[in-house]
């Protein structure tokens, strides 16, 4: 066991810090619009090989050798500096790795570079009103007519569909085939007459969700990723990329530090809440969970570095359920510390976790943490996965595959 990163990586970290000290931009560049400043700083990160490391140069990445330790250091340092780093939205985070694995040469050249530059925005068209956890039952249809797919149906809970230029989505193209084998993965332009987007307010009050209606919408025949009927496998590989993203060990810690800070600043009967034995007990108990999450991240990272991921299958399967539970626990404790301020509706909070926020800011955080426990496989689906794949329990009574 050795928790240091070693001299080579520490010098890598030092160089990276020096580079990141250049944000925010200074001199004449400081007067540029923020978007332009961010674009410039991202380009510099790309040239240095800090960003889009896994994407080949010909598709707009920096094509670096795989190195999970550097990945972690980069993520930690960018997060600490607040500088614009790798885009984590659905396009760059989910579609790009999927296209690199399954896409045609033309699709990669057409879509990957502008997605990485943030010039094309994507939304993910998976869930439907009748197909949430049972995603493979989806009914939206695509029929090939000449050189085009013609799409009909409805998607729902689609984040950022109103702002997106394109959708990557799942559509039933082989109605005669068994459930999972009848689905294709299509890339669809959003700005067209056959698509209507209606906003759907989330319980936080934000307007990220949408409903998307397809009424003879169209997309070119070659905008299919993988073959006809392979859409399910293609989308699973997207999820694999998502699951492969191991949380930074420091992320959960900084969330907890925010809670601790809040308990120091909040007063109870004229004294800091942190002096209240009940608060101390509760926070110390939560810290047990937070440290479990932290040390588990370290374990997963080490296993990956040693190529021993087969030894950590169980904690990998648990990562989502566990981390969403712990994040909820932290946010709820903070919301409760805020006391009567918890009666007030949250302001429109842009930051997902507002560590500096008190009162209504933490109310927003509490509400916002309810979402990740549903998105990308709800907690009960995770429990099925842990039970069946992790503990070897039999499949329960569900429709056959």
């Amino acid at each position: 066991m050795d928790l240091s990163y070693g001299a080579e990586y520490e010098s890598f970290r030092a160089q990276l810090r020096e580079f990141l000290a250049g944000w925010p931009l200074g001199g004449e560049e400081a007067a540029l619009p923020l978007a332009e400043q961010e674009r410039r700083f991202r380009n510099r990160g790309l040239e240095r090989g800090y960003l889009c490391r896994h994407v080949p140069v010909e598709y707009g990445g920096s094509g670096q050798e795989p190195d999970p330790t550097k990945d972690i250091i980069i993520r930690e340092e960018y997060a600490a500096s607040g500088a614009p780093g790798d885009r984590l939205e659905q396009g760059a985070g989910m579609l790009v790795p999927t296209l690199l694995e399954w896409g045609s040469e033309e699709q990669k050249r057409l879509f990957v570079p502008p997605t990485l530059r943030g010039e094309i925005r994507w939304c993910q068209g998976y869930s439907e009103p009748g197909s949430g956890s049972d995603l493979a039952s989806l009914q939206s249809r695509a029929v090939l007519q000449g050189a085009e797919w013609v799409l009909n149906g409805q998607k729902i809970w689609t984040s950022n569909a109103d702002k997106a230029d394109w959708m990557f989505g799942l559509f039933r193209t082989e109605p005669e085939a068994p459930k999972h084998a009848g689905i294709s993965y299509l890339l669809v332009p959003m700005k067209q007459p056959g698509i209507v987007v209606r906003p759907l307010k989330q319980l936080t009050g934000s307007l990220e969700f949408n409903e998307v209606f397809f009424d003879d919408a169209r997309t070119p025949a070659d905008h299919i990723v993988g073959k006809r009927g392979e859409g399910w496998q293609v989308s699973r590989s997207t999820l694999k990329h998502e699951r492969g993203l191991i949380g930074s060990p420091r992320l959960m810690r900084s969330l907890f530090d925010g809670l601790l800070d809040l308990a120091r600043r909040t007063e109870r009967a004229g004294r800091p809440a942190l002096e209240d034995p009940r608060v101390r007990q509760r926070l110390a108990e939560i810290e047990g969970y937070v440290r479990s999450a932290e040390t588990t991240s370290l374990r997963l990272l080490s296993a990956r570095l040693k190529g021993e991921e087969h030894k950590v299958v169980l904690p990998m399967l648990m990562a989502k359920l566990f981390s969403t539970d712990v994040a909820q626990m932290v946010a709820k404790a903070a919301y409760e510390l805020a006391g009567a301020e918890g009666l007030l509706a949250p302001p429109r909070a842009e930051a997902y976790y507002d560590e500096s926020g008190t009162g209504p800011g933490w109310t927003h955080n509490f509400l916002a943490t309810l979402g990740p426990a549903i998105a990308g496989g709800a907690s009960n689906i995770q429990r099925n996965i842990i039970g069946e794949r992790g503990l070897g329990l039999p499949r329960d009574l569900r429709s056959p595959r």
């Binding site: 066991m1 928790l3 601790l260 047990g288 374990r299 329960d396």
Partner: protein
């Protein structure tokens, strides 16, 4: 960066697991549990032959010269098998001598403790939840002890007792010393029986005056208990999974009901992510001393808490059978109760961790 076990450490765990499966399978464990002695000389001899009794003792004194992490890894496997015996007290007595003994004391005791020639234990607690060095009131007068200590694990069979004294010091008392009386207590965990120690003018020998030694022994104890509880809880998950796969109700195995499956998934998810907690605390004791006391308190509080929850669910999922004496789940449940209470309950450890964190 490597937060994982070495090949040697994995092999150590595998070897001990093989020994436990062979020498202390559930049938043998049940015999020992029902007999209630909690100490099987044959089993102890086998552990001595494997070198487990002097794990943390330097090679110069006949030990294996390993670290607290290795001790914790062995404790995990012993907890997993609910192996009865004096391992906990013996390991802590060794730690005390290694850290605080004079050369003469080490020479006298460590080779014997490491080889199994002598059995050690500790007597730390006093009435009123006085578990920690700063709480101890027993004070030697002219080299003799008058008073009592509580909850010495397997202390009634020990050749050497390491006793906590006022000011956070430690003292040695030998078997047969005048005025020493050991009364077995009716402990809940029959795999690790406890004794009350009465001292009536009993001669003792002080260990070195460094007050950090007792605290470090206590911290090592917290880590060993956390590791034991992790082993206990992981085994309870496995036992319950195995049972739910074969037990049929409503014409189908229990494990096919989502209510049961999700409960099992929750049990596993409460426990598996805590493995790194005791690894980290042990590693801190070995290499990051400033972090160690706090890490040990957090690991002990969190893991023993989760272990008891797991045990409760395990009893429940075994149904009517789970509430019987005959069902083995109770043996592990009671081991978890010991791990939770010994050296102080989670609430106490959490308050300590809060204070240590400057809260």
């Amino acid at each position: 960066m490597d937060f994982g076990l070495s090949e040697e450490q994995e092999l150590l765990q595998e070897t001990v697991r093989g020994f436990v499966d062979r020498e202390c399978p559930p049938s043998r464990l049940r015999e020992l549990f029902d007999a209630g002695s909690g100490h099987d000389p044959g089993l102890w001899k086998g552990m001595a032959e494997m070198g487990l009794l002097g794990l943390g003792v330097p090679e110069a004194w006949g030990g294996a010269g390993l670290e607290v992490l290795d001790l914790a890894l062995v404790a995990e496997v012993l907890g997993r098998g609910c192996v009865p015996g004096p391992f906990l007290g013996h390991a802590l007595a060794c730690q005390a001598l290694v850290l605080g003994g004079s050369d003469a004391q080490r020479e006298r005791w460590l080779p014997a403790l490491a080889s199994g020639g002598a059995l050690g234990s500790v007597a730390l607690a006093e009435d009123g939840e006085r578990w920690d060095p700063e709480d101890w009131t027993l004070a030697p007068r002219r080299g003799r002890l008058h008073g009592s200590k509580l909850y010495g694990p397997c202390a009634d069979v020990a050749d050497l007792l390491v006793i906590g004294i006022r000011g956070g010091g430690l003292a040695l008392v030998e078997k047969g010393a005048p005025g020493l009386r050991r009364e077995p207590l009716n402990g809940v965990d029959r795999t690790r029986p406890l004794a009350r120690i009465e001292l009536a003018g009993t001669p003792c020998e002080l260990l070195g005056a460094d007050p950090g030694v007792a605290a470090r022994v206590r911290d090592a104890g917290l880590v060993v208990l956390a590791a034991d509880a992790f082993g206990v809880a992981s085994r309870l998950v496995q036992m319950t999974v195995d049972y739910a796969r074969v037990r049929q109700q409503f014409g189908t195995p229990l494990a096919q009901f989502q209510g049961v499956k999700h409960q099992l998934a929750n049990m596993a998810t409460a426990i598996e992510p805590t493995r790194g907690l005791f690894w980290y605390a042990a590693h801190a004791l070995d290499h990051l001393p400033a972090e160690a006391p706090r890490a040990a308190a957090i690991a002990k509080a969190h893991i023993t808490d989760r272990a008891l929850e797991t045990a409760r669910a395990a009893v429940e999922l075994h149904g009517g059978l789970g509430f019987t004496w005959e069902c083995d789940v109770q043996i592990w449940l009671k081991r978890a109760m010991f791990d939770r209470a010994f050296l102080g309950m989670p609430e106490r450890q959490r308050e300590r961790s809060a204070t240590l964190g400057g809260w």
